[in-house]
Structure formats: structure tokens, C-alpha cells
């Protein structure tokens, strides 16, 4: 079960993920990112502080957007990952391909710098 909330702050779209993302729920993450991109946001911050678990289905969603976001000059930054969740990204080296920061303010700062 996962709850996904979106809120806007200073021109950035913040997607908060609460709960667990697995093969049954990854579609919700996919839809939220698609909607944010469709709404034209250039800065998307993904709040993972409430994310308790992610499987490859969720990792795959982030992976599938890397090229599209690059083409559209949209900057997505994840923040607030718990250690065990970050570890899942790191096992495959995906952590190196995504923008990940510890805190929301660091994430915001990076998105601001990248989108200049």
C-alpha cells in the first residue's frame, strides 16, 4: 500500500511517497511523476522520508524517466531516504544515476542550481 501526495512549493513540485512501493503499487509512482512532468514542472522533488520499502518495480519507474527528464530539462531530486531504502538504489548502482540528497533544503538547492 502506498499513498502519494503532491504539493507545490516555490515553483517546485514535491511528490511525497508514504508506505511501500512494490510490483502492485509502482504504477502509482509512475502516474504521479508523469502528471508532474505533464503539468510542466522543471523541478520535481521526491520526498522519500515516508518511504518504507521499494522493490525493483519502483526503481524501474525512476530509471525509465532518466532519459526523458534529461531531454525535457526537468530536474528530479530524491531526498529523505532511509538507509535501507537507499541501499536498494545502491546495490545496482542506480544511486549514481539519480540525484539524491539527504534533506529537502539540499534537494531544493540542487534542483535550483541544475535548472539555472
Amino acid at each position: 500500500m502506498v499513498h502519494i501526495k503532491r504539493l507545490q512549493e516555490e515553483g517546485a513540485d514535491i511528490i511525497a511517497i508514504i508506505g511501500e512501493i512494490d510490483a502492485s503499487s509502482s504504477i502509482e509512482l509512475d502516474l504521479a511523476i508523469a502528471k508532474s512532468v505533464g503539468d510542466g514542472y522543471r523541478k520535481i522533488l521526491v520526498d522519500c522520508s515516508g518511504l518504507e520499502y521499494i522493490s525493483s518495480a519502483g526503481l524501474g519507474v525512476f530509471m525509465s524517466y532518466i532519459e526523458e527528464l534529461k531531454d525535457k530539462k526537468v530536474f528530479l531530486v530524491l531526498f529523505g531516504l532511509k538507509e535501507r531504502v537507499l541501499n536498494t538504489f545502491s546495490i545496482l548502482g542506480l544511486a549514481d544515476l539519480l540525484n539524491i540528497r539527504e534533506t529537502k533544503s539540499e534537494a531544493k538547492k540542487l534542483a535550483d542550481e541544475l535548472s539555472v
Binding site: D22, A23, S55, S56, A57, L59, N87, T88, I91, G93
Partner: protein, 136 residues
């Protein structure tokens, strides 16, 4: 000590699988990070089976056995009667090309192989047994 869990092939049951694994390994001195990795690998194996061998038919059953073989030594068995798919025979695509092709899949098997020490397949009494071993 051994534990068994029977699961109908619905992706909604994956949460229950993860809870079963966490409960079975509780008190075995497995760190939070190692627990997370083991749970992840078994979730990947179960979701793959449910999707590819059983087309998410909740009437199809798979079972999981967890055997604590020794200090920090675990044997996990996933048993089903669908078509067998040996992940050892599967050649994973490079991460770069998955990214380039905007793929969402292709990561699960890589995770399992990175996390588990050994993955073996056996056939007994008309059933497929996938045996995964891990020492932490």
C-alpha cells in the same frame, strides 16, 4: 527451525510475504540492511513468478519455506508448479542500456543475484523448487 507460507498469486499478497520473512528472521541477528536486502530479493522472486509463470491468478498457489540452517545461514525455497524459469540462464542487460531504452524492468534478477549467495533449481514430485541460500 523452519517456517512455511502459502501465497495466492496476487501482487497484493507481496506485502504479506515480506512480513512473513521479517517475522521468520526476527531474533536471528540479521541487521536492518541485510534484512532489507533479503526481503527485497525474495519479493523479486515471488513477484516474477506471480507475473510470468502464473499471470497473477490468485487461485494459483506458491509456497515459501524458510530454513534456518545454522548461525546466520538461511535457506529459502520457493515452490510452485508453473513453468520453470532459471534466472542463472538469464543474461542481464547492462544498466546503461536499460536506462537508454527507458525500460522499467530488468532490475529484479540483478538484485537477486547481487544479494543471494546461490540460486539453484530442482524439480521434485512435479513441482519446481527454487532454492536460494544466504549467509549473513
Amino acid at each position: 527451525m523452519s517456517y512455511q507460507y502459502n501465497i495466492g498469486c496476487s501482487l497484493n499478497n507481496l506485502k504479506g510475504v515480506r512480513e512473513f520473512i521479517r517475522n521468520s528472521l526476527k531474533g536471528q541477528g540479521v541487521s536492518d540492511l541485510e534484512m532489507g536486502a533479503i526481503v527485497l530479493a525474495l519479493d523479486e522472486m515471488c513477484s516474477n513468478l506471480m507475473i510470468h509463470a502464473h499471470h497473477c491468478n490468485p487461485d494459483h498457489q506458491i509456497s515459501m519455506n524458510i530454513h534456518i540452517a545454522g548461525h546466520h545461514q538461511f535457506v529459502f525455497e520457493i515452490i510452485d508448479d508453473g513453468s520453470m524459469f532459471d534466472i542463472n540462464q538469464y543474461k542481464e542487460q547492462e544498466l546503461d542500456s536499460l536506462v537508454h531504452e527507458k525500460r522499467k524492468g530488468g532490475l529484479g534478477i540483478r538484485l537477486v543475484k547481487s544479494i543471494m549467495d546461490k540460486v539453484e533449481y530442482l524439480r521434485e514430485d512435479g513441482k519446481n523448487i527454487c532454492r536460494l541460500t544466504k549467509t549473513v
